[in-house]
Symmetry: C2
Subunit: 221 residues, 2 copies
């Protein structure tokens, strides 16, 4: 039995001081799962990382960012994600709650953030291959089934009102239009109108396609 070291640091400043070189030293891959964008919204932290990255060659590096829908709540966050995506990062949205922040660099170093006020969070840094590999696999599993940012914005999931969701549920349950309309207390005409609107929103040409899209966007579970 042996004891690996896992370093814990408190606050952005200490993280930058102790682990900043890890960010700058990224060789191939930078993956990140986060519930929100609090960390990088902190101007000091972002600038500090920015300075570190300045001289680095970022061309061969893939950046994968997995965030929850919360990260799209306000416009500032949206524009930040768009900017990141424009610089070549792949961004996906996971409907499940994500960690406060999980970063894996080159599949060698892992940094996890705990709860706490922005700027004063607790961070855990580790290089244990078993830990990093394990978490990396879980990240990939979550990543694979998440929705691409572009598709997510296209579908504009959150803008579905309660009515549309009800229609979606009825469709997913396999009812005919007639019984679905009855159950929702709508006329057949209106129900079908709703379906047509929904299909327009999902940019689907057929109900089958609408079903696939709905599934993709996580509107059925």
């Amino acid at each position: 039995m042996t004891a690996d070291q896992v370093i814990t640091v408190h606050g952005d400043a200490e993280l930058i001081a102790r682990a900043g070189h890890l960010f700058a030293g990224t060789q191939r891959e930078f993956v990140c799962a986060a519930r929100d964008l609090d960390t990088w919204s902190q101007p000091e932290a972002r600038q500090a990382i920015g300075r570190r990255m300045r001289g680095a060659d970022t061309s061969g590096i893939t950046v994968d960012k997995l965030v929850s829908p919360v990260a799209l709540a306000d416009e500032a966050a949206r524009s930040h994600l768009r900017e990141v995506a424009a610089r070549g990062a792949r961004v996906r949205i996971s409907s499940a709650p994500l960690p406060h922040e999980t970063i894996i660099i080159d599949r060698r170093v892992m940094i996890l953030a705990g709860r706490g006020a922005p700027g004063m969070r607790e961070f855990t840094v580790t290089t244990s291959p078993v830990l990093v590999d394990g978490v990396y696999s879980l990240f990939r599993a979550a990543w694979e089934t998440a929705t691409d940012l572009a598709a997510y914005l296209r579908g504009d999931v959150p803008h579905l009102d309660a009515g549309s969701r009800a229609v979606l549920r009825a469709l997913g349950a396999g009812y005919t239009d007639e019984s679905a309309a009855r159950q929702l207390g709508l006329s057949l005409r209106t129900y079908r109108r709703r379906v047509a609107e929904l299909m327009a929103t999902l940019e689907a040409d057929s109900r089958f396609q609408a079903g696939v899209r709905a599934g993709e966007l996580g509107l059925t579970g």
Copy 2:
């Protein structure tokens, strides 16, 4: 800056000796993500855990098991999963490669397995809240989007022949039956027969539902 301890043990025997009490001490929740079932296929390990669990009250404990499709490859593994499910565990299948083994008990303790020959693997045990919470969230994210075992077996995805897949593609592309049939070089009647068969296979009552199912089973990407 502080240093947390992460214990590393080698081999099933040492894991049982050092961490066996953790399994037996499960109070509420036992979650587990694994690529295959090697660990628990080892008779000694399973028996040892079994002995530990014997007297424990398992009624209030939820067990979630997330595995890759590989775990369904041979009949022994299948029957083990069925047995586990019968005892109340929730089992889901993730299409992405999973860690060799990740276990989180009561959201307090985490055990990760590394590579290595069955029986002689390296395990990492940690209780760091930041690490455990972070990994737990990732697990949930992967879990949410995974397929339920029952649905997975019901759908029997791999047994779709090339024809059915072509039909699926046509449906997913949003073509009408007429143009789809033309493109596939089938008569309208035969194409529709295929669609009907497909829907029967997917146990779908409507094309919309078939679309959702197809998406769930990953037949569209």
